[in-house]
């Protein structure tokens, strides 16, 4: 990041918001990712050392949202819909068109939803309501989430797990599991690594 919070070779003429911290050794491709960034939290977003956030990742963050991206995380074209808290652990891989949502944004009750939509139509610029209770999402370390997956509010995905492409994860996934399908189910367990297999000394 440049001193004026622009990004080197950014195609979009934007700046990184003040409440975002990007490790000097992380890569953030474009400030277009902040087009829907509305968080006013002090530590709204952290991108850790060695992590890459490529084109197409969208941080759709509500006023109180906090997102923490660990170290050596690879993200490519994910939609982060967050009104409360989403954490992504070290070494996790998030593929194209993945949706991580900690909130449905609008009330499930149709009557209350109508009021929220009438309120949204009076906003300039337009924004759908964010008054719904959100439940944090926790992606632990070394998780791999395949193309087009959706992770729904309140879900924790355990360390080392793999989520197959196009899965919809609505329940917690234990560590070192392979979960696939819509809704996602665990189909097998993976061998946890020996401690000395964590060889990274970077």
């Amino acid at each position: 990041m440049n001193p004026d919070r622009t990004l080197p070779r950014d195609w979009f003429p934007g700046r990184v918001p003040e409440n975002v911290t990007v490790d000097p050794e992380a890569y953030l491709e474009t400030t277009y990712s902040f087009q829907l960034f509305h968080s006013a939290a002090a530590d709204a977003l952290h991108i850790g050392r060695g992590s890459s956030v490529y084109l197409g990742v969208m941080f759709d963050l509500g006023e109180h949202a906090r997102v923490n991206i660990g170290n050596f995380v690879l993200m490519n074209g994910a939609r982060i819909i967050c009104d409360r808290e989403i954490t992504i652990g070290d070494y996790s891989l998030i593929s194209w068109n993945v949706v991580l949502m900690d909130t449905p944004r609008l009330p499930t009750d149709a009557g209350r939803r109508r009021l929220a939509l009438e309120h949204a139509a009076r906003q300039s610029p337009r924004r759908a309501g964010t008054e719904v209770a959100a439940s944090p999402i926790r992606i632990e370390a070394n998780v791999w989430i395949g193309f087009d997956c959706c992770v729904l509010p309140g879900v924790t995905i355990g360390e080392g797990s793999v989520i197959g492409a196009r899965s919809v994860v609505m329940e917690n996934v234990p560590p070192y599991a392979v979960a696939v399908g819509n809704p996602a189910r665990v189909i097998r367990q993976l061998e946890p690594p020996e401690p000395d297999q964590y060889a990274s000394t970077l």
């Binding site: 068109n97 149709a110 759908a128």
Partner: protein, 191 residues
């Protein structure tokens, strides 16, 4: 503070609306690509109520396609693929990257699919395409559709239904039911 028109004054952020599009007061349409694939020759081809927000929506409407959308709808980056008819009620919410299609796009029968592939090719100039199955999609009032969902031809989604993220809807959804999965199944009622 209400804003009754877009910066262009037309309701669309990128210029005047096509002549066969009618929208109500305080409805906003964004994105330069909104009408890139809008080819309908009907009039009106797109009829939309008041107070809607169409943020980054693709109106990919074929020559004989007709879309109606009620009041207070809020769509984010939805793709509407219409060759026949999409009928969407009031207070409908559609999440990011959701696709709604009222057509199969190509024929099912293998021989006809070959004819279609040729007709669609750069060498198919003027050759008529075979008939393709189409059925209207109807989405009633107060339906919520999550991100990454797909709604296919002939589906009627009943009032107040809740379509979870990533669902593939191929059949009718009863009013006030909650559906999930591929293919989408009813997993409960909206509380």
């Amino acid at each position: 503070m209400s804003r009754t028109t877009s910066e262009s004054g037309s309701g669309w952020s990128h210029g005047p609306l096509p002549a066969n599009v009618r929208i109500g007061a305080n409805t906003l349409i964004t994105a330069d690509y909104a009408f890139k694939r809008f080819r309908s020759k009907l009039s009106p081809a797109l009829l939309m109520g008041a107070n809607c927000t169409m943020d980054g929506v693709h109106f990919a409407i074929g020559e004989g396609g007709r879309v109606s959308i009620g009041d207070f709808c809020y769509f984010t980056n939805a793709v509407l693929l219409c060759e026949l008819e999409l009928r969407i009620g009031n207070y409908v919410v559609i999440g990011w990257n959701t696709t709604i299609a009222d057509t199969d796009f190509h024929p099912l029968v293998p021989a006809e699919r070959i004819a279609d592939a040729i007709a669609c090719s750069p060498l198919g100039q003027g050759r008529p395409r075979p008939e393709v199955a189409k059925k209207p999609v109807v989405i009633e009032d107060d339906v919520w559709i999550g991100p990454n969902a797909t709604i296919l031809k002939g589906a009627r989604i009943g009032a107040g239904a809740w379509i979870e993220a990533g669902s593939l809807v191929t059949r009718d959804v009863p009013p006030r039911s909650r559906v999930l999965g591929n293919p989408a199944q009813v997993i409960g009622q909206v509380p």
